[in-house]
Every structure is written in C-alpha cells, then in structure tokens.
C-alpha cells in the first residue's frame, strides 16, 4: 500500500512495546503512560490550484482505492431569490440531477451512470450549492463528461418535475406530523423572524416552479467564477488540473458578476415561554428548545465560547447539562447545547432535549440553572483539562481522509476563513483559561433573555409532575402568560388568528 500523499504527520509506532503478559496491570488508567503524537495539519496552499474562468480547486491525491471524488461548491443559493421563488431555487438543484441533459434523456443519463457505478449529485442550498461526481478511476473521463454536461446543459424534464412536485406537496401536507419537525421550524421562526433562513415552501411556491424559471436560475448562477472544487482520490494532480480546465474553458458558460452578499437577519427574539399544542393521545414526550442569539465566526471569542459550551452542554456525557438531565435525573435520553459561530452573521446559542411531558419543566429548569452557574462560578480545573484534552486530541481527525482535507479547505475558501486558521488551532484551544470561560459565559449566555419553546401535548406539559410540584413553565416565565403558537395550515403556511 502506498503512503497517503497528504499525510505530513510522523505518526504511528508511537506506542512503546508493552511489558510481557506477566506484567502487572496498572491499578488505574491514570497510571498508563503514552508517548506523544506529532501531527501537523496539512496546509491549504499545498493543494490549491487556480483554474480557468476564476474557478479554484483543492486537489488531494489518495491512491489507496481506485476511486475519484469531485465536488464543486457553487456561489449561489436560495438567499438570492425573492420569497415566492424559494422552490424555483431548490428545485433547480434536484431537477438538474433528475432531468438528464439537453442532449441525453434522463433515462439514458441515469442508466449509464448506474451501469458505470458513477454517483452524481446536485443540490441548491440556502447560502451555497453543490454538485458532485464519484466514480471508479477507470470511468473518470466519461463520468466527468456527464457531470459537466449536467452542470452546463441540464435537461429539466417535465415528467421528473411533475413527480417531484407531487412528492413535495405530499411532504408539505405532513409537515405537522412529528413534534421534531414542528419544533425545528417554530424555533427558527422565533429566533430569526422574517429571514431567508425561515422561509417555508407552500403549495404556491411549489406551483411556481417551471422548467423556464429553473433554466433562468441556472443561467444566472452557474459559471466557473462561482466554482470551488474539492477533488480527492486516485488521480494525478496535473492531469486532473488539465481535465477540469478543459471543461471550464468552454464558451457555453455565461459571464457572471460576483454573487451578492448574504443578508443578515435583523430580528430580535422576544424572550418568553412559547408552546405549540400537538393533539395526539399517544404523545407522551415533548420537544424543548431554549436559546438566544449567539456569536459570529469573526468574533475572536468563538474558540473560548466553544470550549465553554463543551463543558456546559456540547460534550455529551461529560457535559453538565447531559450529566444532570440524563445521568442524575433520568429526564431525557439526550440533552445538549450548542453555540455555533455564524459564518456570515451571529449564530445561535441553543439547548435541546426531549422529555416525558410532565417532566419537561424540571429539565428546562436545570438547563437554565446550568447556564447561570457557568456564568457565576469558574469551571473546575478538571473540566477545563478534559475539554482542552479532548478538543486537542481529536484534532487530527478533522483531516483523517483526503476527502476531508480537500473539503475543509474548499469550505474555508468559500466562507473566507482566515489563512492559517488550522495551524495554530490547538494552541488557541489550549490558551483558553477558566477566566476566559467565565468571561465568555457572562458575555454570550443570557438565560434571562432565553426563548423557551415546548412542542407536545401542552396540557400535560403545563401540568408538570405531581411528584415535583416546584417545577413549572409558569415559574420560568415570571408567571407571565405562556404564548401559544398555533399550527399553520400545512399547505399555505397560514397561521390561524388568535
């Protein structure tokens, strides 16, 4: 087996030869000794190539298997279209893949791809879009040809569109079925208000999707200047560069200006307790979210905030929220918090769990208590050390495969992450002190401003647990009214009045 080209680490063989079997087993794992691992993250510049037409590629060879994976991130997304056209944007992605090309019917296109065992994908997201092709090395040329034919000359087949519309409408009808889908939707609305991230498909927006509108969206958004490739697998970098270049120099690509900036939300969430009533006699567990606005990636505190959150609720079983809600009280199967730094604007701090209806108030109280406690008291040395160790030790796993290396660098370029971010990432984690954690907790955690949302059988949720009468949602809300959010009509997304 050949050495993986992207591995720059002098890793492995680090384990000292153990003692003979007769040796004593140490009484506690803390007595074990480990030699250090040297690992240097790869550098983006090593793999970066500029392609014709303004495209960029990260090419990472890995000759372990005869496979090649090419994916391209495209500077476009649903954020670019007006409200009524959100489905025009999203359907363009799936229909580019489903409809064949202008010269090949979808039947022939799909049949050939399937026969070659080539996997082709295409989608339009909110702030970025993507397309990909994965194939056996021996089928690379034909697979690339089909892939670029799709990207350049998509077919937008009427029969496939009709099917996809029928499927989507059926899905819309069922959007109020599960508490999980309701809670995600309503939580986003509470946090972001009227923003491109909270727009919902309706029968009208789906009805506006036509082949002409999709073709127009395609023509306005797909061109090399908007492409960032990440390529990994069994290929030669120079040869791959030439192959991609040949497609990108085609005169069929339109000239496009830069994609407009991504609009930040202007909404200020209104703190309080909200509930959505889901009438179902069998429903014995409710979904709860607790959160408020968070921080942006450009904020230098985001690393300290992520270490803080790891201790609070990000670290699964070793986090405070999981430990109390699940291990101590048995109130939920999973309970967690996240503080995701926003790429373009401040993200959210959110905690989430699901508990038996009557016991949600107790679990919510614990989450709020822990948010308060990490602001008031310094974290222990043990917690800090554990959080440092974990986040530093797992660092090599970010670059575990050639695909991850290429994908990470492509995403960094797309989102404009500063150069050298990964080179001193571990040092910045290690530098986070207990004081820093308390400072960022005080700055960015605002339990008194929390939006609390529960979705489930709300009578039972409000009634609480007769064995623990001290806990109630009313008391979490200074005895203010709990605001009930009605379920919208699933096809029109109109919310009933009052």
């Amino acid at each position: 087996m050949r050495r993986r080209d992207w591995m720059t680490a002098a890793a492995g063989g680090a384990l000292a030869l153990p003692q003979l079997a007769s040796a004593q087993i140490p009484a506690h794992p803390s007595l074990l000794e480990f030699s250090p691992i040297e690992f240097q993250p790869p550098e983006a510049s090593q793999y970066r190539r500029e392609l014709p037409g303004g495209a960029v590629a990260y090419l990472v060879e890995d000759h372990q298997f005869p496979l090649v994976d090419v994916s391209v991130t495209i500077r476009t997304g649903g954020y670019l279209v007006p409200d009524e056209d959100i489905d025009v944007a999203s359907f363009t992605g799936s229909q580019m893949r489903a409809g064949g090309t202008q010269s090949i019917s979808f039947t022939d296109f799909d049949e050939e791809a399937a026969f070659l065992a080539t996997q082709i994908g295409c989608s339009v997201g909110r702030t970025s879009s993507s397309a990909s092709v994965g194939c056996l090395k021996q089928n690379l040329d034909r697979s690339l040809e089909m892939f670029f034919d799709m990207l350049m000359h998509p077919g937008f087949d009427a029969q496939q569109l009709e099917l996809s519309v029928a499927r989507t409408l059926q899905g819309l009808e069922r959007r109020n079925d599960s508490t999980r889908s309701i809670v995600n939707r309503e939580y986003a609305r509470l946090m972001r208000g009227n923003h491109f991230t909270t727009r919902q498909s309706t029968e009208d927006t789906v009805g506006r999707v036509t082949a002409e509108r999709m073709a127009a969206f395609h023509a306005q958004n797909y061109s090399p200047s908007r492409f960032i490739f990440s390529v990994s697998g069994d290929f030669d970098t120079d040869e791959m560069f030439d192959k991609l270049s040949a497609y990108l120099t085609s005169s069929d690509w339109p000239e496009l200006g830069a994609a407009p900036a991504i609009p930040a939300p202007t909404h200020h969430p209104r703190p309080g307790v909200y509930m959505v009533d889901k009438v179902d006699e069998n429903l014995n567990q409710a979904q709860v979210r607790i959160g408020h606005l968070g921080i942006a990636r450009s904020n230098p505190d985001h690393i300290a905030a992520s270490v803080m959150n790891y201790i609070l609720g990000g670290g699964s079983f070793v986090s405070r929220i999981m430990s109390r809600v699940r291990s101590d009280e048995g109130l939920a199967y999973s309970a967690s918090s996240s503080i995701t730094p926003g790429t373009y604007y401040p993200g959210l701090f959110s905690a989430a769990f699901q508990s038996e209806n009557g016991r949600c108030a107790q679990a919510a109280t614990i989450v709020l208590e822990e948010m308060q406690r990490i602001r008031e008291e310094k974290v222990s040395d043990e917690e800090l050390e554990l959080s440092h160790n974990y986040n530093i030790e797992i660092f090599p796993r970010f670059f575990a495969t050639a695909g991850q290396v290429a994908g990470t660098f492509a995403a960094d370029e797309y989102t404009g992450r500063e150069e050298g971010y990964w080179q001193n990432y571990r040092d910045r984690i290690a530098a986070v002190s207990a004081d820093d954690i308390q400072r960022v907790a005080q700055t960015y955690l605002k339990p008194e401003q929390a939006v609390i949302l529960a979705v489930g059988a709300t009578d039972a949720v409000k009634a609480g647990n007769p064995d623990e009468p001290d806990y109630s949602f009313q008391s979490l809300n200074d005895d203010n009214e709990i605001e009930m959010i009605p379920l919208p009509d699933p096809l029109t997304m109109k919310y009933p009045e009052g």
Binding site: G12, A14, E111, V318, A332, T401
Partner: protein, 514 residues
Amino acid sequence: MTTRLLALLILLGSIWVAPAQEVEVQEHILDNGMRLLLVPREGDPNISCGWVARVGSVNERPGVTGVAHLFEHMMFKGTHTLGTKDIDRDLELIAKLDDLKAQIREEEAVLVESYRVGQIEDPTAADNRSERHQELLAEFENLLKVQSELLVKDEFTRIYTSQGGSGMNAFTSNDMTAYFVNVPANKLELWFWMESDRLANPVFREFYAERDVVREERRLRTDSTPTGRINEQFDAMFWQASPYSWPVIGWSNDVENITREEALEFFGTYYAPNNLTMVLVGDFQPDEAIALAEKYLSRLQRGEKAPPPMRTREIKQLAEKRMIAYAETRPTVRIRYHTAPDAHVDEPPLLVLGSILNGRTGRFFKSLILEQQLAVQAGGGVNGLKYDGMFELVGVARDPNQLLDLEQGLYEQMELLKEELVTARELQKIKNQQLAGDFRRLKSKSGLMIQLLQYEALGEWQNINRFSERIQAVTAEDVQRVVKKYFTRENRTVGLYYPKDFVPATEDSEGEVE
C-alpha cells in the same frame, strides 16, 4: 489490503476490469476463546476499536425482553475501579437496594393480583399502595441518595474523552451488541485497559435509575413518532413464534421488572470471552496489539457453559396477514415476506433482487412511479437476520385512494419477475455497482471496523471477502428462483397505513342504498 483481479468481463460492448478488494485480517485467538481481528492501516494517527457480543434481543425470552439493550446501558456505568469513591460501601448499598427491591416486588404482586380480579383500577397508583409499600419505596429512594454521594458520574466516559477518545458509542440489535470508540494511535493500551476492566469487573450501578433513561429512549424512538408503535405491532404480527417478534428495546413491563439476578446470569452467559470478538482498524502494530490483548484480556474466564443454541425458530406461515392502520403519515403499503437467514445461499440473489427493484433506474421507479403514476416512492430490500430473514416491499401512494392499487401493482411487478428472467444488462449493472461499492465501503476505518463486527456476529469475518464473489455469481435464474420461492400469497404480511383523517372517495355516496 491488496487488490486482486477478480474477473474480466466483456459485456454489451463495455469492457469491465473488475478488481475486488480483499480485507487482510490478522486473526488471533486467546486461550479463553476471545477472537481478536487486526487490520493495520496507514493514514491518520487513530485507531478504530470495537468489540461485539454475539447476543441481541433474539437471545431473550418472554419476561426479560429488553435485557440485551438494558445491558448495553449498564456497560457504561463503571467497574470496581471506575465510577465510585468507595467500592466496598457501594457494593453493600447495591445489595441492600436489591433486597429492598425484592420486597417492593412482593408488594407490587399483591396490587397486580387485586387488579387482576378487578378490585382496583390501577396497580401503579400511589393511593392503592400499602403503608409498608410506601415505607419501602421511601427507604429505597433514600438509599439511592446515599449511593449517589459515592458515585463518580460517567467516569468511564470521562476517561476516554479526556484522552481524545471520540465517537464512543454502542448499539444493540436483534442479533448483536457492539461497543466502539476511536482512540488516538498512542492510546491503544488505554482501550485494552478500559474494555477489559468493564468485562472483568463490571458493576451494574444505577441498575434501577437507568430505566428512566431507557423509558425516555422508548418515548423518543417509538412512542412519540407518528408510526413507531404501529411498526412495533407490525413486527409482532409478522413473527409468530420467533423472538424477533419483540422490539429490541423490550416490552415495557419486562424492562421495568428485570432483576439483577437475571441480568447477571445473562452477562455470565453472553459476555464470556468465548462469545466476543474484538476488532482494531487503523494505525497500530499487530504484535503490540496481540501482546496487549494477552496482557489485559486473557484474564477473563471462559464461560462455564457455551451460550445455549437458539431454540424457538419461526414457524411456517400458512395464510396472509393484514394490518390496516390510521396514522399521521403518508399513505404507505408495506408487504413483508419471510425469507432466509443472512448466511443462506438465497441471500445474494435476494440482495440482487432488491437492487433490481430500487433506484432511479430500478423497476419500481419505471413502472409504478413513472408509468402507472401510482406511487411517489417505492422500493424493496432483504433483511437477513442471523436465524431468519425477511424481504419487504414498501410503496408510498400518490393518493390514499390508490393504496390498494399500489399494493396490486407491487404484486404484479413480482409476478413479472416469476415469468421472465431479469435482463443481462440489469444484472450486470448491479454487479458493477457492487464492485465499486466494495471500495467505497472500505474507505472509512470505523466503517470497516463495524462491518467486521457485524460479520463476526452473524457468522465469521471471512465472509467479508466472500461477499463479492457471492454477488458476482448470481444468475438471472437464481433471481427468478428466489422470487418464485418466497413471494407467495400465504407467505406475506401486509400493512396498510392510511392518513388519520382519510375518508375514502366514493363515486356516488348517495343513492347507493336500495
């Protein structure tokens, strides 16, 4: 890993050079019967580590359903060394708790008896409890509080995490229970320490409290999903005699009442080293791993007796079974057939059959979705379990009024397969995809580790290298043979899921009455 040339196929004008991937495994068996599978692989400085116990819900019996899964939870609760400040006091308290629990059970039995004869409405209601019952419960709660003072919460998990262990998890299925974690390449000894400790010196702490978590898990996975409980009952209807009929998470009554004695007996039988396989994939030296295995794992004692053979096998189904359900879901039909165990010679043709039905170029998409416009989604696939198997066809109708037509459409497609052989092109397409899939499946180290655990649980790891040839050898006649053999009317169980508010359309609802 080596690449070898499996076949050179010239077919339909396309030349296919098919290299198949062989997984090179170094096998080491300890004197106590435990198997160790080693797959060193270069790459990032990590090792994917896991082990599997050949036990799942299929090894349970009525009364203790869910014990295999409850066990998986207990295995994270610590050992004599980890998870407590004072093991002697802890064990004392555990014995007292068990004793109290036994007395509480006697009280509960009295209530259940009163309920059985109709003297009380609810055997769980506090009002019905005797004074002694209430005292015992209070004492029990009190002891739990005392014990919690001694606990070092989640110490097992904390140690792994602080050493960079990631992706630590476990799962229980019908046939197996697996435990796995990724550790940095220099922490292999830690893995042996931790895993051998929880096998050699387990303490089932929080044995009663953990059931609250399992209850929430059931609410999450089953009770609070639109079709969870109906699916559970569909399984129970499909399997008549087989232990596959109960859910892996167990029936609630059983889970509530499993005793420590039952749990210990289960552990002694199924977690003995002769019933376990350990798998390592990643950046390590096999000699070092074997030395560590001998040092840490050879102290485990072989089980006194081998796990008992599976006795209650499924009986032959003699008549179609149907379930009609109303739920908050899309109009769905599922048709399930009894087939054969995973290792059976019919499994490869059944797998190929699934691929012929599925996907953008599959038969169902072309016929039921595009041409007949009956379905928006349709597919089928085999699920080979260790002792039995099933093949399920699933379709989502465009309109609930068409659900029965879709059911017929699915049958028609299967009848066509009985009459005419699948084409050479269809078959070759599946084989091509399988060969490419072979490589794709091996790309992830943790994925390979899990696959080896699964192969071991269902048979032996060597099957991972036989799989490719078994698929490549499938003929059109094989596919036709298994369709004729299994897809019969009396062998099927049908589930029809209508949307809750569905009212069938009638052509003329008035004037029909004469």
